[in-house]
Every structure is written in C-alpha cells, then in structure tokens.
C-alpha cells in the first residue's frame, strides 16, 4: 500500500503510460493472487474475464448506446457470470481438469473474438474513447492508480475477514474444511464471483485507459502472464504481485529492441522460477524474494 502513492511522482508521458499498464495488470495479478494462491482455486481464465469486461464495455456503449458506467458494470457482471459458470460446471472434476478447462477457454476466447469479427473487430481490434474522452488522460491515470489501490486494499481486507480465513483453509485442505462442516462450495462461488467481477472491471478499466483492444491483446499468453505476476513476485506476501507486475511489465519495455525474443525469454523465466521452487508454487518464495529484492528495488 505504501509503495503505491510514491509512484504518483511519475507524470511524464512515457513513464506515465508504462506505469499505467503496471497498475492495470496489477489488478489482474491481484485477482490471480486472490483466486489461485490465496483461495487455492486452479483457475487460468484471467484473460477471458478481463476480455469480457473490456469487450462488453465497448460493445454496449458503442453499438447499443448504453451509458458508459452501466456498460462497465454489466461487463464486470458478465465476467462474474462466466467465472462462476466455469466453476460450477467443472466442480465435479479434479483440480487439474479445472485448470485445463479454464485454460482451453483462454485459448478459445480470442478465436471466438476473431470469428465474431463484424462485432469485435477481430485482429484489427476496436478503438474506444470512453473515459479518456470524458475526463482526460491525466485524470484517468490518477483514477487508475486510485482504483488499483482501492482494489488491493479490498483484497487485503477480505483476506483478513472470516471469509478470507475460510478461503485460506480451503486452499490448504479442502476436504478437511468440508468435514469441519463448512459449506466450501458457497465460499468458492464467492471467491469466483469476487475474482470475476474485479477482473472484468479491471478489463473495462484497461480498455478505457488504452483506448484500443484486439484479439491479440487477449491471447492465451496474457493469461499466463497474469498468473505469473503473483508467482514471480511472491505469493506469500501481499506486496508480491506489485514486484511481479513491475517485473512483468517493465522488463518487456526494456527489451523492446529484441521484442521478437520476448516469449522465449518469458517462457524460460517462468520455468526457472518454478524450478527454483521445488516444493511447489507457494513455499520458499520468500527466500527467492530475498534474493531478487535488492536487484529490483
């Protein structure tokens, strides 16, 4: 939390644009942090919920002439519905198949956007004035920072409540939590709803800020990208995703001259991070953090 206002200082054009992206992906990163790492739900459809929020906002305002805020809200609701549906329909399967089904959805979705080209613009994308036209770029930038901080605060708050502790319990031992007599299904649906809504809202915010979205922006790589924000930064600590988002967004900016090698680089980084944490994803990450912290701070 304390880290966030310090970045208000950057108000120059380029730095502002880049940090804006950091915040927008930070929202998605915290969604992944909350749903995958803190609640233990093997969901990989972050790019889908984000895209639904984004596309619904554009399509509803531009094609159906809805008011902007109603469109954003409905977009977030739609993302919620998809996330919950994904959970409900796969709840009989084992975790691994849930990951796969949601990941396949992340592959399917850009294809669907391309197939629906007349509405969505497919690969050539859609332009969108939205909030930028309404309040101006600088105000929007501050709004993004403010909203990101609010969302992060919300996630921290919820993990501190009873609901949050039950979700932690579910992530640690699902069956035990059930035998204790808690209705884990109810809490999982709640987790998916929160994650879906915020991810959808974040997607809407994203498209308002960037003013453009195409099927290329929401390729399946994006979902992995989002997933690795908390993983790289450290999922045990609340500021982990912040480090992760800085890393994931700033490194490509530094690597612009060799952009064609970006995927190779990220694929290798992802694998290395996992291999350095032999006991799984969450444990030992603090040790890694201590190693990586001085380099990045």
């Amino acid at each position: 939390m304390l880290l966030l206002p310090s970045l208000f200082v950057f108000k120059g054009g380029y730095l502002q644009e880049v940090t804006g992206y950091v915040y927008l992906f930070l929202i998605q990163g915290y969604v992944a942090w909350f749903l995958f790492f803190k609640s233990g739900q093997p969901f990989f459809g972050y790019s889908v919920t984000m895209a639904i929020g984004a596309y619904a906002t554009i399509v509803l305002t531009e094609m159906f002439q809805w008011p902007l805020f109603a469109s954003i809200f409905i977009g977030a609701v739609l993302a919620t519905v998809i996330a919950v549906l994904m959970f409900l329909s796969t709840s009989r399967a084992r975790g691994f198949y849930v990951s796969m089904a949601s990941f396949l959805l992340a592959i399917l979705f850009p294809k669907l956007i391309e197939a629906l080209q007349p509405i969505t613009g497919g690969r050539s994308g859609l332009y969108f004035g939205g909030l930028t036209a309404l309040v101006g770029y600088k105000t929007l930038y501050l709004l993004v920072i403010f909203l990101t901080a609010a969302i992060v605060a919300f996630f921290l708050w919820i993990m501190g409540t009873k609901t949050g502790r039950i979700l932690t319990l579910i992530s640690e031992n699902d069956r035990l939590t059930q035998t204790v007599g808690l209705n884990t299904r109810k809490y999982k649906i709640l987790a998916y709803s929160i994650a879906g809504f915020i991810s959808g809202f974040g997607g809407a915010l994203y498209v308002n800020y960037t003013g453009f979205i195409s099927s290329v922006d929401i390729e399946v790589f994006t979902t992995l990208y989002i997933f690795f924000i908390p993983l790289i930064g450290g999922s045990k600590v609340f500021y982990g995703p912040v480090l992760g988002a800085l890393f994931v967004i700033l490194i490509p900016e530094l690597l612009v001259p060799v952009e064609r090698y970006l995927r190779i680089f990220f694929g290798l980084i992802f694998i290395l991070v996992i291999v350095l944490l032999p006991e799984g994803l969450a444990p030992n990450i603090q040790k890694l953090l201590r190693k990586m912290n001085p380099k990045r701070a």
Binding site: R92, F96, F103, L104, L108, L262, G267, F270, G280
Partner: protein
Amino acid sequence: MILNGIITGLIMGGILSLPVLGVAVIYGITGIPNFAIGVIGVFGGFLTWYFLSFNMGIAILVGVVFCFAIGYIIQRILLTPISERGGDSTLFFIITVSLGFVFEGLMRAIFPRPSISLALPRIGTINIAGVTVEGFKIFALLFALGTLVIIRLLEEHTEIGKSWQATSQNLKLAKLIGIKTNRVFSIASGIGCALACVGAIFWGSLYNLNLMTGWDLGFLGFIIAVVGGIGNIWGGIISALIMGMVMSFSGYLLGGMWQSVILYFIVILVLIVAPKGILGSERSL
C-alpha cells in the same frame, strides 16, 4: 459432399491420431501431461519446411530427429528431476505450457514466415466411389495406422516394450529390478515428440502450419487421448477419427474461423460433461 466430408474426416482423424499417440506414450509412461509436444512437433514441421528445397528425405529426418532429441532432453534435464521431487499435474501443466511458449517464441524468432505449407509429392489420385482422393492422403492415413500397430507390437513383444509397460505400471518396482527408468522416460518423451512431428508434417502438407497449430495439436491430442482412454489405443484412434469428422464437417458447414471455435467448445464440453469417464481411465499403455 457427405462422402467427401467423411473421407476428409477420416484422414484428419488419422493424422490427428499421431499426436494423440504421442501424448498417450508420454502420459502413459511418464505420468506427466506434456502440453508442449504439439508446439515442439510443429517446430519440427517448420524445420522440415526450411530444409525441404534441399532434400525431402533429409528434411523430414531433420525435423523428426530434432523433435526426438528435444523430447529426450527436456525430459532428462527438466521434467524427470521435477517429477522426482514430487511435482503435481498442475505444476507440469504450467511448466509444459511455458515450454510451449519458449518454442513458439523460437518459431517466431527463427523462421521467416508465421504460416507455412509443406509441398510434398501427391502420389497420384485414387477414385473411391466417385470421389477422387489424392494418393498422398491415403498414404498419410495408412502411415498413421501403421505406426499405431507397430508401437503396439513393439510394446508387447520386445524387451524395451516390456520395460516401458513395467515402468508405467509400477515405477518403484521397475527401478528395483534394474530398469533404467529415467532413460525409459526420456525415450518415451522423445518418441512422443517425434510422433507429434510426423503428425505436424502430414498436417502441414495437407493444410497449413502456423504458430497456433501446435497448441491445437497438443491440447486436442491430450483430450482425445484421455477421453479414448490412455490404456486403450483403439479407443484413442476411434475418438481421433470422431474428432476428425467433427473438424471436417464443421469446416464445411461453418468455415475455417468457426471450425476451431467449435472444436475447443466441444473439448471444453467433454471435460465438463465427462470428468468421471476421464478420471476413470487407467494410467498405463
């Protein structure tokens, strides 16, 4: 048109059964779901395309051998060590998908074109009940089925095959009686990737290969193999053929854009509707 669709479907399904078999070999023996094999196979297809003007035979050999080597190496230095430390499926899912991105990135970086089509000889035409089919397609189908039979025979009647079976059924005992299980894993992974490469070469000569084809082959291959039953090769072939029919007819009726949407939709549906059937399949070949 219906007959034409059926024949196309059979051929698509037959070619698809190669990566399916690749997945079945890898998952059946090592127990590791490898989603990168499709991308690696397509990478091999791109390599073959690159050397095709030089000499066809050598070009195919380069692709297939390269894929075998990559499969062998990633198993040896990455996947086996992680599985010895006790990695679960979700972890392997993330790792192999990341690996897929590395190879997709390599394809982007190395090859001049993102979408290719391999020009292999067509071997004349054959007339089946009024429909003209290229001899090459028939060859592709027969080759795919032949490979399945050969792998099955190898497994039943050779020492290597028996040690594969032993490794997949009881890893600990296989180690105790002196099977080099790590080598079995690496070879299985190599063969799986090589099969995916052969599949990709056929696919690329009949249709085309692009950066996404590898993901399609890998994920479809995995789902088909699992639905058909990892332990049941014929089940795998039948579901591959059915999938081929679905692809063929959805292509005819809806056009290319929708074809893959429909395909993934069906695959997700299968995962949702039949998780019990999927979970019930034996982990052995």
